[in-house]
């Protein structure tokens, strides 16, 4: 039973109640399996986190996990995670946006396709292999470090350290900049040549075009891409864990330590309260992203 058939019935004047039932049945058959699957493996786990985060060790309702989550060392953890994600988003979004603009405005179809597929690949790297790759390249004994030293640039005597906050941001940029290129390119692509030419004809110079047309058009997309990059860096776990071995106390790592039993805390459900905190921060970034993205799609393509 499809809605096409239902609509046909409707046009012929079938009883309204039957149409409604038919539609409900069609919807149930159409999206039911997906909903059941997501219900078991996605929504139920999230609901469980929320419920358990509001229970004390004996299962009674309590805010004690949240009270503990808002104390040290977790408060610092959230502060670190948020600033790491914010700095990573900004430092990757700007070069990513400039690169996307250059490729979209000057590159041929072939170059654009090549860059898109490579970016797709790089944006999906991450995790443990990425961390080890950077350790091999830019660690204290790394080959790139050695090469740069031979060229007269001694990174480590100049205060560089891969296993630090800054090092983590550098490593993240390896997947964050390509991610920016992917999400920002459609927006740049939407700026049509005709608009630039029209503005030129009406007497606007380059600066005026960007001030009144290009920038206002691209700014929402830039902000939304920035938010996506923020969320991506905020929830990254594997890379940070392999790189810092828990030294930089990011929230996902603190949660991991609790789950693995490396750190024992009085409150059994503390990790769940921290996880809810992470969901809230991510949602705060992603909901505006989705709204802006939907609005931007109206004029793109």
């Amino acid at each position: 039973m499809t809605t096409t058939e239902v609509k046909l019935l409707n046009r012929k004047g079938a009883p309204k109640w039957g149409t409604l039932m038919g539609q409900l049945l069609a919807i149930a058959l159409g999206v039911g399996p997906l909903l059941i699957f997501m219900g078991i493996f996605f929504f139920a786990p999230l609901a469980a986190v929320l419920v358990k985060s509001l229970q004390d060790n004996y299962g009674a309702f309590s805010f004690e996990n949240y009270a503990a989550a808002l104390k040290e060392p977790f408060l610092t953890g959230f502060r670190m995670s948020i600033s790491l994600a914010a700095i990573s988003a900004i430092t990757s979004a700007i070069p990513g946006a400039v690169f996307a603009y250059l490729i979209e405005s000057r590159g041929s179809v072939r170059i654009r396709q090549f860059v898109t597929s490579i970016s797709g690949v790089l944006a999906n790297t991450g995790g443990v292999p990425l961390a080890f790759m950077f350790i091999a390249a830019l660690g204290a004994e790394g080959s790139a470090t050695g090469l740069l030293k031979a060229l007269g640039l001694d990174l480590y005597s100049n205060g560089f350290n891969l296993f630090s906050f800054g090092g983590l941001i550098l490593v993240y940029s390896y997947f964050q900049i390509p991610l920016m290129v992917i999400v920002f390119s459609p927006a740049v692509h939407g700026i049509r040549k005709e608009w630039q030419e029209a503005a030129r004809n009406l007497g606007a110079n380059r600066l005026r075009f960007w001030r009144f047309i290009g920038f206002p058009l691209l700014f929402p997309s830039f902000v939304s891409s920035l938010l996506l990059l923020f969320a991506s860096a905020f929830s990254a776990y594997a890379t940070a864990r392999a790189m810092t071995t828990g030294e930089i106390a990011l929230v996902p790592i603190l949660i991991g330590n609790l789950v693995d039993g490396n750190v024992i805390f009085d409150q059994y459900n503390l990790g769940k309260a921290l996880a809810v905190g992470m969901v809230i921060v991510s949602a705060l970034a992603m909901i505006p992203y989705l709204i802006i993205q939907r609005r931007a799609e109206r004029w793109q393509r």
């Binding site: 809605t3 996605f42 590159g107 950077f134 989705l290």
Partner: protein
Amino acid sequence: MKRIRIANLPLMVALTIAGLFVLFPLGSATEFSFRTPVSGGHGLANYVWFFTAPDFGHYLWISFILAVSAAGILLVLLVPTAVWLNLGGHKVRPFVEFITLLPLVIPVVALAIGAQTSLPDFAQTNEFVLAFMYAVLALPYAYRTLDTGLKAVPLRTITEAARGLGAGWFRTIVQVVTPVIRSTVLASLFMTLALSLGEFTLTSLLHWDTFTTWVTTMSQSNILGAIALSVFSLVAVFVLLLGIGAFVRPVSNQAAAEED
């Protein structure tokens, strides 16, 4: 002629910088992975080490089975749903688009902790549960890819023709629609494979061992071997994902041709 060259200079500079940015760390790591500290030169020792490690094949096989299962689960689930939505489920479409994006929004760490609490014991004691969880993580990408592919073909005409010739829905989807969108199906398949093969967060937080977690464990005893393994798996995933590009190209070429 000269003018065109000057106009292309920023592009060339950008492409060069991007190329260095991508290849410099990868190249350095590759060099590093061939080092043999004992004899002081370069050689295949680190690669030989992990290939001959007793558990290498075992964990690679586990990861492979889980990845293939995750891809299978997703396709069986998503192809009919996406076909149905593209045929007429207009009212629920925004809703489905929204919920299929959610796994991107929710940090994997939170999902892992929840799965530990909510899944029944028989599921927790069976490593196969990971295939379902990987499928959840790959869902946003796979759904979007399939949806784009279905929009590019005259789906209604095809299905009506198949139905008119007497094929049931099952047959229509398996023997008619799927072959038509095979490049998109393959793309989402490979994407799910790549994501599942590299998954670490869920796997380690749920205390299972797959290829990725095994690499981390091995790095504690032999960092050079672990780096060789990382280079190996990065390059393998690059090749796998670029394979997607080759499969999807026919469609995107068409789109690009229409555009220009």
